[in-house]
Amino acid sequence: MRSRRSRSGGWVGALTSTDHKRIGVHLGLASFAFFLLGGVFAVMMRAQLAEPNGQLVSDNTYSELFTMHGSTMIYLFVTPMAIALSMYLVPLQIGAISIAGPRAALAGFWTWLAGGLIMQSGWLSADGAGRAGLFSPVPLSNGTNTPGVGQDLWVLGVILAASGMVVMAGCVLVTIARRRAPGMALLRMPVFSWTGLVTVLMVVGSFPVLIVAMILLYIDRHGANIYSGFSGAIDYQDLFWFFGHPVVYVMFFPYLGAAAEAIAVGANKRWFGYKAFVASVMAFAALSMSVWAHHMFTTGGVTNQYFAFTSTALVIPAGIEYFDVAGTLVGGALVLRCSMLFALTFFVQFLIGGLSGIFVASPVLDYSANNTYFLIAHFHYTLFAGSVFGFFAGVYHWFPKLTGALLRERLGKIQLAVMIVGTNLTFFPMFLVGEDGMPRRISRYAEHPGWATLNRLETAGSVLIAVGVAIFVANVWVSLRHREPAGDDPWRGHTLEWATSSPPPPLNYEAPIPPIRSYAPLLDLREEAADRERREREQAGAPA
């Protein structure tokens, strides 16, 4: 049954499409556009901080820049992109022909997009965009201390964007529960789909708390005294961070899944330790819901020891995942294509972020490092050096499936090299300057021995990152203009999405889905065929 509107193809058809693949692509493209915007904010901040007592932007503008950089990257890039990947790939990987609740997913996408635009519309208001930080604590963010419609628009934008993401995540959750193809038991779901499952569980369990916190903040800003006194300030932080910690794992797991798929396919070997991996991502996600007040160690308002305990315990599932990486590589037949290289880089660089995270999970160490550039280094290593590289691994891996064309390998390797240098040049010195006493969220700093040099290195690195991203955009452009056809399965993939055309048809599978016996059904078939061939050759070579 086709509605009247879908026949009107073109723009209207595209924008009202309920095909999960189109929604996923639109969400991904919009997120990437926001990534570029957030990157512009970053480069502006780095330009300001390249010299002591920088004068490029005013103190007020700087506070808008760091607020909007963080908000854009978290609410409008890394998180929605994680949902976009899940929305596109999970139904394909589990053999579903569509997502559950496609209308809801579509409405969710538009709600998110509207939230993003409303958040950014603050730039056009008289007092400027949101400027109380991504964290936006009370009393700083209340009507007295940060008045004006720009901050209001920020709060409303967050509410809409988060609501849209909850709805989209809910659709993916129901799809996994109810739309798996027969034979696709949960313990035969691909690794990426498991990371997608825990991602949407965290979204459903924690994002509503953020929405409540923001609604209350909005009301607080307009007369009612909701968050009052010491306990009100702590309550706000509890509510915000209950979302604010799981969200960083939402911004990690799908990219971990993408990197894992890229590595398994690149190694021509199924992912090692599947059951341990499933248990560890479930444990990792559950723990991630219980660590949030490590962001509040220095407030004196929470029981630091409980949160130090849960935060340090993260070592266990994380360690299992790294063990599985090694187990997949060892004994494999490795093809060092771009997706594989980005994935390996993801694991190495993320490790720096993860280890520095265990460092600040210890309250006494955090009393020094909290709110310094050490912390900025920590979370940029996990989010940028980690997740964004995992994102590129996923892009190089699945671009052919999405578009039917291959991305250029040579350009991709140049991009990787430039980004490795740029990323480490930008973020590693931050560990050092933070240890030396440079706090975060300052628009200028006085002369301190070594700070100008380190900051200049960081600024140079940020420019290199921008160059790397530009190379990627150029790669996409060239690859779509002068197409190298990819075919259904350019990489000898393991999972069901490689058994359909590139790009997949509207209902995902035109031919019957191959038999599903494990989490790597296509690899199973290939091995079976190889065994059969070998047996036939042996029989032919031994005459009766």
Binding site: K269, G273, I316, N370
Partner: protein
């Protein structure tokens, strides 16, 4: 009479740092070597050569136990240090009490015993003068938004949240001049909310205090 050593946040930090960082570096090096070695050893082989095994639950369980033991060890060190810094220090009898009031965008340090008040930040730069090797009780209050008292030399910071007065007990172990900075974004001139700390010998501090805080 045995002297009980005063808790030094700097010392606690350095001690934990000296365990955490080498472990982190070691883990990083091992994992990078394993990945690099695997990449070099197994690249370029034909796909049929790839091994078919894909799990070893016994090995993983053993590895998980090793990780659990590591976590237990780190937690033991962490809990002990945190206990000393937060709980034991609070039981020390302070030789000095300083009332700290943070407001946009200045610090006010008052010595109730001596009737001295110094201010620093956008209003100027009068140093916070303290004696070394003595327990100093800081009572932290904020007049408006959340600020954070950070003295990098002590490797310590604590938030000042309006509506309640927090108490911390700190000890300076080295004499000298150090910087202090607000470490919680508090609005337009957050970057200017800095102060200087001058740690003097107890004798020099006493004469400073007697002189009403005018010489140092």
């Amino acid at each position: 009479m045995t002297l009980i050593a005063l808790i030094s946040t700097r010392h606690e930090y350095d001690a934990l740092f000296s365990v955490y960082v080498p472990i982190a570096l070691g883990v990083f090096v091992v994992i990078v070597i394993v990945i690099l070695a695997a990449v070099l050893r197994y690249r370029g082989r034909p796909p049929e050569k790839a091994a078919r095994w894909s799990e070893h639950n016994g090995l993983e369980a053993g590895y998980a136990l090793l990780l659990t033991a590591t976590v237990a060890f780190l937690l033991y060190l962490t809990f002990s240090a945190e206990h000393r810094v937060d709980t034991v220090s609070a039981r020390e009898r302070p030789s000095l009490t300083v009332d700290v009031t943070a407001a946009k965008w200045e610090w006010q340090f008052s010595y109730p015993r001596y009737g001295i008040t110094v201010r620093s930040g956008t209003v100027g730069r009068q140093p916070l003068v303290v004696p070394v090797d003595q327990a100093i009780r800081f009572r932290l209050a904020s007049a408006d938004v959340i600020h954070s008292l950070w003295i990098p030399q002590l490797r310590f910071k604590r938030a000042l949240i309006p509506g309640a007065t927090e108490t911390v007990t700190l000890t300076f172990t080295n004499a000298g001049t150090f910087t202090g900075q607000c470490a919680e974004f508090c609005g337009l001139r957050h970057a200017d909310m800095v102060f200087t700390v001058r740690a003097l010998s107890p004798a020099a501090f006493a004469s400073w205090a007697r002189a009403g805080g005018r010489t140092a």
